[in-house]
Amino acid sequence: MFHLELDQIEASYGTLKVLDGITLAVSPGEVVGLIGPSGSGKSTILRVLTGLLPPAKGTVQLDGERIDFGSAKAVRKLRERIAIVFQQYNLFQNMSVLDNVMIAPVKIRGRNKREVRAEAEALLAKVGLSDKLKQYPDQLSGGQQQRVAIARALCLKPQILLLDEITAALDPELVAEVLDTIRLLAAEGMTMLIVSHEMGFIREVSGRVAFLADGKIVELGEPAAILDTPKEARTHDFVSKILRH
């Protein structure tokens, strides 16, 4: 059984259709890279999977269970299993690094504060931020903020982690520190959907890569097949442009 299955997902922002029949199945522990031009719907898939944008058509199944996006309870359950890291980090500006990581497990999930604190400190140590616990987001660099965002997502103990262009807002020298963290997670067997323009990174960590255009998956396959020998002309155009830069 697949861990996550999207079947003919369609989604729109107002009258603009952004996803037009996305079908994708992800196995447990698999890392799928989502690539494609801006506006192709990559990030929208992640928004659908976190219930931020309910799909207009199609189904999402998690471990064989169909998600009813019209039911608040079902969406809450979905969000207990899937966590997302946003491109702009989206850290809570009014909270310290430690509070950002602890707030949801403690206040929303009602877990023991001391236990969560120990986990949060361990996760922040794992992403190399042990010395920043009391700092606020605006006192951190972009790379540090993004690593806090990753720790915050992990503290929710998700079964699936969604990463939305997490290096796009970072200076090149900060990209490596974030990607190291993701490599570590991939090695630990975390199921992940990664939207990224870092082709080298996508090739390295992904088990499969999906190329999207105009809200559709144009091509799906192993990284080498998609990035080196794409079958579709659109994939070829995109990949050759990206790799040239």
Binding site: A83, N94, A104
Partner: protein, 230 residues
């Protein structure tokens, strides 16, 4: 000046002082009801405007209609409308109650807009992050949005409170015995206008100045000022 000085002992007679203090109490009560309960109702209306989906659409329309109407109608007109609405409906209520209902209507509409603007000033990505972590509307506002919105809400809210204390003077039109009404009464009794309204001015100042200080204090406490340390 000589007249004012000669009137001073009589003006500050025991009964006049009690009369002025009671009037000040009424002004404070009207203002407090407007600011505190108006603030709470206004916050509720602001949150209602932030709801999404079809189910809460009537609530949103109602909230928008309420704020748009009562922010546009002058205080005096609202006061008269409430006054005659109570008369028409046959409810026998005191003019103070009419004043209270009016201040609630006006203050809640204005404060709803101030709170809404504050809540919406917080970047959409904060709402997204909270939603994705299952915060729900109320907990998102409590833990994430409101702490960041204070800096936008507090200055205009306290500016409004101070304006509003002065607006409660209009309740004197329906004979609510608040400060301005007390001033008119004492002036009609023959006390010099300068003395009477000068005293009223000082009392208004004594009421509104601590409020302004409270606003500044809350701003300092609730809006952390941090600078980058690296």
């Amino acid at each position: 000046m000589d007249r004012i000085l000669s009137e001073l002992p009589e003006f500050f007679s025991y009964y006049n002082v009690i009369f002025l203090l009671k009037a000040a109490g009424t002004t404070i009560a009207l203002s407090a009801i407007g600011c505190i309960f108006g603030g709470l109702i206004g916050a509720g209306i602001a949150v209602a405007r932030l709801t999404t989906g079809w189910v809460s659409l009537p609530l949103r329309i109602l909230a928008i209609a309420y704020t748009e109407v009562f922010r546009r109608v002058p205080f005096l007109v609202t006061l008269m409308l409430v006054f005659f609405a109570f008369q028409f409906s046959g409810f026998r209520v005191s003019t103070f109650t009419v004043g209270c209902v009016t201040v609630l209507l006006i203050a809640s509409a204005f404060l709803a807009e101030i709170v809404r603007a504050g809540l919406q000033s917080v970047h959409a990505n904060q709402w997204d992050a909270a939603s994705a972590m299952n915060f729900g509307l109320m907990r998102t506002i409590r833990y994430v949005i409101l702490p960041q919105a204070w800096k936008v809400i507090l200055p205009p809210a306290f500016g409004f409170f101070i304006l509003f204390i002065k607006d409660t003077a209009l309740a004197s039109y329906i004979n609510v015995a608040e400060l301005t009404y007390a001033g008119k009464v004492l002036n009609n009794k023959g006390f010099a206008a300068g003395l009477t309204f000068g005293t009223i001015l000082l009392i208004y100042f004594a009421i509104s100045y601590p409020l302004a200080r409270l606003g500044a204090h809350l701003e300092r406490r609730l809006v952390p000022s941090r600078t980058r340390s690296d």
